[in-house]
């Protein structure tokens, strides 16, 4: 591993950090703006009070009380929405790791160079993982700058941790897409299955949280959203084991991608 492919990936795709980071940051600023006014968020809370608790849970809100605080509002609304947008970024990044170059035929040129398939895939993965990190960090900085600039009374460390906690989720979706693209070979199929993975995971988390019992627990347990919820930082319930589970899934997914990519025909 020489790092050349990582540098090239960053050189050619760094603008994604700007586009996605600023885009998500703008969303953060909007949420900050609303959080600036306790009257507005309590007004929202009053509206939501009329909803059944199960329905609230399905929308990712575990309690009305949480929404009435600025940090609870920012994390419940912004982080939940950012998680969805970041999933879109992650699917696109996962395709960029190998599928796009393979489908366009560029991979033939790349793999005729003195670099092993494994090293190439690893360096591409690291390159896009760094870009994803850049997106999350930029988004967090803009959101925090908004909190400071608008004098929102919210603990910065809690907001920062809950936003950074989105990163493992983005990495997981990127890795799953990479795995699907290397295994299925067809980019369109990989996009479809990855999107299904994100949507089903979101629904499982929402529906699982709204119900109780073994099936609900199972649905929550298999949804990656349940392991990266920002609320855990607000209510002090963050469990590092959740992050370990997500990183373990990422590692397994990447090893499987690597094995598939190394052992199969390219470009057929």
């Amino acid at each position: 591993m020489t790092g050349i492919v990582i540098r090239n990936t960053l050189r050619t795709s760094w603008k994604q950090i700007l586009y996605w980071g600023v885009g998500l940051g703008a969303l953060g600023l909007y949420i900050d703006f609303i959080a600036m006014s306790p009257d507005i968020i309590s007004g929202y809370a009053d509206i939501l009070k009329s909803m059944p608790p199960a329905m609230l849970k399905a929308f990712g809100v575990s309690g009305i009380e949480l929404l009435t605080t600025p940090e609870g509002w920012i994390v419940s609304v912004f982080v939940a929405e950012a998680a969805i947008f970041l999933s879109v970024f992650a699917v696109l990044a996962g395709l960029n790791i190998s599928a796009n170059d393979e489908q366009s035929g560029v991979m033939d040129v790349i793999l005729s160079l003195p670099i092993s398939r494994a090293a190439y895939l690893l360096e591409r993965w690291i390159g896009f993982a760094l870009i994803g990190l850049g997106v999350v960090v930029l988004c967090a900085l803009i959101t925090l700058a908004g909190i400071i600039g608008m004098n929102v009374d919210a603990p910065l460390d809690v907001i920062l941790k809950s936003i950074l906690n989105l990163y493992p989720a983005a990495l997981l979706v990127m890795t799953v897409t990479c795995l699907l693209a290397t295994a299925l070979r067809r980019r369109a199929v990989a996009v479809g299955v990855s999107a299904a993975f994100v949507v089903v995971s979101y629904l499982f988390n929402a529906l699982g949280a709204a119900a109780s019992g073994a099936i609900a627990d199972f649905m929550t347990g298999v949804s990656y959203f349940s392991y990266v919820e920002g609320e855990a930082f607000v209510i002090g319930a963050y469990d590092p084991i959740d992050s370990v589970i997500v990183f373990a899934a990422i590692l397994i997914g990447f090893v499987l991608s690597l094995r598939t990519f190394v052992s199969r025909d390219i470009g057929i």
Binding site: V109, P114, G267
Partner: protein, 311 residues
Amino acid sequence: MASDSVIEIRGLTKTYGAGRKATLALSQLDLTVKRGEIFGYLGPNGAGKTTTIRLLLDLIRPSAGSAKIFGLDIRADSVEIHRRIGFLPGELNLWEGRTGEQIINYVASVRGDSRGIVKHADELAERLDLDTSKRVRDLSSGNKRKLGLVISMMHSPELLILDEPTGGLDPLVQQTFHEMMDEYRAKGKTVFLSSHVLSEVQAICDRVGILRDGEVKAVESVDKITTVDFHWVDVVFRDSLPAGLPQQLERISTITDVSTNGARVRMRMVGDFDPLLRAISNGYVEMLHIEEPSLEEIFLAFYSGDEEPAK
């Protein structure tokens, strides 16, 4: 492996798909390419040329058999092999949004010693009259091909593997390319070149392998294959054909395909010239033109279904 062999292929077989949908693309290929030669790999579309090349580059995996390049296994030692070879794919696809210069710099950095490689790339680009400052999407197909040639040759590889290298190049650039291949040969380097442009193979290759339906039908020196034992003979008489000449020629067992056009008669002839000379001695011969069969004709002979070229 003999030290003068650069490519050695033994029993290489590739089947795409499985079960009823399985397609045999290459069957039990045995082939040796020697150091310092330009080897032409001929065959029509679908014969297995690109499959062979993709197997050699470890882009696809053989169903059976093995191959070595520089004595190294194409699978286990692919990185080391790729360090020493240059490759131009038949369907060249590059990053559309990037300039030739950016691609050259990237490929050079992956190959290491980028400064020296880029300098040589600039020389090659100048020689091929290629503007590397343009984005790939703005290049014509011929200029893309030139860029592919620069990328494949810029590190002065020991072995060049070129899949249909001159497709889309104008005749002047083709001439430059032929000169480059001559220089490669003079430096003792090896070229494995697939083509269906037989005149090109005839012009620059030392040996040729003819592939049909995934099987190598013949491997011969270009000299030998072009001196196969038949000729096309044109005889032009000053006034008119001697009376009864066509019928007389058709009676000669070594002459076939007799056709006439005014005072000209054309025929395909095998063996000695004496029967022909005797037959035309009654007329005043203004011109006698003897033409060796082209590779196209030999090629067609192979593809007629015969195991041996038609004599």
